[in-house]
Symmetry: C2
Subunit: 159 residues, 2 copies
């Protein structure tokens, strides 16, 4: 085993990132193996629009947990792919409302069985003595109540 894996909890951030990256790559290969022209990074936007139908740019950004500039660049790609389109909000002229095109909706129908299969594999991989998704939920909940930094500063002051 290498030193970083041995260092344990301190390299947690690195470990999370590495695993995320690996899953993303495998996801890309998997879509390809099904002949589906879809990139994993598009998933959050497409999945959100599949459930919410019409949203503004910032609303999508909030749903997927990215900043709005990052979201805008994803939206540009998806518009290029003709999977989404946009229209002006007639009530609030600042807003650009995003929605799926028919092509986008068809692609989702095609991808659904692939998503189901992916979900099965991911469950198989992550459901062990410790369930990875649960573990993330639990950790994020704790951080939401009191941030890493707050906890650290508190421990420091208790010394």
């Amino acid at each position: 085993m290498n030193i970083i894996d041995q260092s344990g909890i301190l390299a947690l951030s690195t470990r999370l990132q590495r695993l995320s990256e690996q899953l993303r790559k495998d996801g890309a290969l998997f879509y390809k193996s099904y002949g589906i022209d879809f990139e994993p990074k598009w998933f959050p936007v497409i999945y959100t629009l599949h459930h919410k139908e019409v949203l503004s740019v910032v609303e999508i950004a909030n749903e997927i947990g990215y900043t709005h500039p990052s979201t805008i660049s994803l939206l540009k790609e998806l518009e290029k792919q003709k999977l989404i389109r946009s229209k002006k909000d007639k009530v609030d002229e600042r807003k650009r409302l995003i929605l799926l095109t028919p092509k986008g909706q068809e692609l989702i129908v095609k991808m659904k069985p692939v998503w189901d299969l992916m979900a099965s594999v991911l469950r198989e991989i992550t459901d062990n003595q410790n369930n990875l998704l649960q573990a993330i939920n639990e950790a994020e909940n704790k951080i939401m109540h009191q941030s890493f930094l707050q906890r650290a500063l508190q421990l420091k002051s208790e010394e």
Copy 2:
């Protein structure tokens, strides 16, 4: 709750990345709050050299799980900070051997109590019904034995 968190296992990669990013940022703030001029991304290299003393560029890359070009750019930053230095391997002229400078070693001594505190906080955050670090270990082990893609293709062929 937003749609992505609800989508469950399918957005696992996104969730991992988000959590990693948050921990990295909090880590940076924490070093700063101790007046330590150190970036979280340097940790894997410094920690590795702390334990292995002298390693070549590619050896470090393997230890920390990055590609060698990424490692080279980290090493450049650390050389600029005068935390590490390098020398030619006299046996194998292709190799550049990397080691900590006295400044680097002093910094580690200074950082050790901070690392201990960080480790405590991380343990507090990640040790729940499901232990996040364990969950990562378990998932990575499974993937090591059979990749995501292989598992998916197998399930597909079993249909």
